[in-house]
């Protein structure tokens, strides 16, 4: 199953992807730089998505808005989502969990590898 990273920052996508690979994650990793591309990627991989990393602040549509769209559709509602954000306030966290009470994680940038893996490990394939 695949991991999808959605973030408008190429550098953040690279960092996330590299950290996952260096931590022994074996899943194929796909990337999208905006919500529209993410929807297309998700639609093309329904049933084959292990985990979705979603940036909070993106142009046109925020990560929370994208997630709101996903949780309303039965086919995508069960995809585990980890929100990744630079916004460290409790209010942002609550807004994300309000939209998706089953959120798999809420990761603050800049994150440490063990923080990332603590959120990802239950959903991904690793060496160990």
């Amino acid at each position: 199953m695949k991991i999808i990273i959605v973030d408008d920052s190429l550098l953040d996508r690279k960092l996330l992807s590299r950290t996952l690979v260096n931590s022994g994650v074996k899943n194929e990793i796909l990337q999208a730089d905006n919500a529209e591309a993410a929807f297309a990627l998700i639609a093309g991989n329904i049933g084959d998505i292990a985990l979705l990393f979603l940036d909070y602040q993106m142009p046109q549509m925020t990560g929370v808005e994208l997630m709101e769209g996903l949780v309303k559709v039965p086919a995508t509602a069960g995809i585990p989502i980890v929100m990744v954000t630079a916004s460290a306030s409790e209010e942002s966290r609550q807004a994300a969990y309000k939209v998706n009470p089953r959120l798999a994680g809420y990761l603050l940038k800049p994150f440490k590898p063990d923080q990332l893996m603590a959120a990802a490990r239950p959903y991904v394939q690793t060496d160990a």
Binding site: S9, L11, K14, A86, E90, E91, K109, P110
Partner: protein
């Protein structure tokens, strides 16, 4: 953030300077070349009082982070990001935006912790040397505050902030 995670010590206390905003057509003039006298990349993140004002692009404030282009890769590397090619415009625009996003996130948290409302953050906009069309900002403001940070003895990072009155949490 830069001190804690990047392991950098600022060479001195940041220098804060109040400046008048130069505006045209309700947009703030922003120029990077004057900051370091060298190729400069800068990124703006706007702040809004609510999701609704963000959708209408009625910014309450804007943070602009300037970095000398030749220094950006080292700075990001210290924060555990992959190295970027400083000659690749797309890479430095993206890299500076990533840094500005991090700094803006800390700023939002700090003012929220100080008893003000949670501000919504925009995604970043990045430029090299100058923003030809300016950057939108809170039109009622005519002053901005510039903070100059010295790293390894030189002025490497500068941030400009303009902000309208942020409501307190009621």
């Amino acid at each position: 953030m830069i001190q804690l995670k990047g392991g950098y010590d600022f060479t001195g206390e940041p220098v804060f300077v109040e400046k008048k905003i130069v505006q045209f057509h309700r947009r703030m003039r922003v120029d990077g070349l004057e900051k370091f006298g060298a190729r400069t990349v800068f990124s703006a993140v706007k702040f809004y009082t609510s999701v609704e004002t963000m959708e209408r692009d009625e910014a309450l404030g804007v943070l602009v982070v300037f970095v000398e282009a030749d220094y950006l890769s080292r700075l990001l590397w210290s924060l555990d990001y992959p190295r970027i090619d400083e000659d690749d415009d797309a890479a430095i625009l993206d890299g500076c935006g990533t840094l500005a996003n991090l700094i803006a996130g800390y700023f939002v948290k700090e003012i929220y912790d100080a008893g003000y409302i949670h501000l919504q953050m925009s995604h970043f906009e990045s430029y090299i040397n100058t923003a030809v069309n300016g950057i939108s900002f809170c039109p009622g403001q005519d002053r901005k505050y510039e903070a100059r940070f010295l790293l390894q003895g030189d002025r490497r990072v500068t941030a400009e902030l303009t902000m309208g009155p942020v409501p307190r949490v009621s």
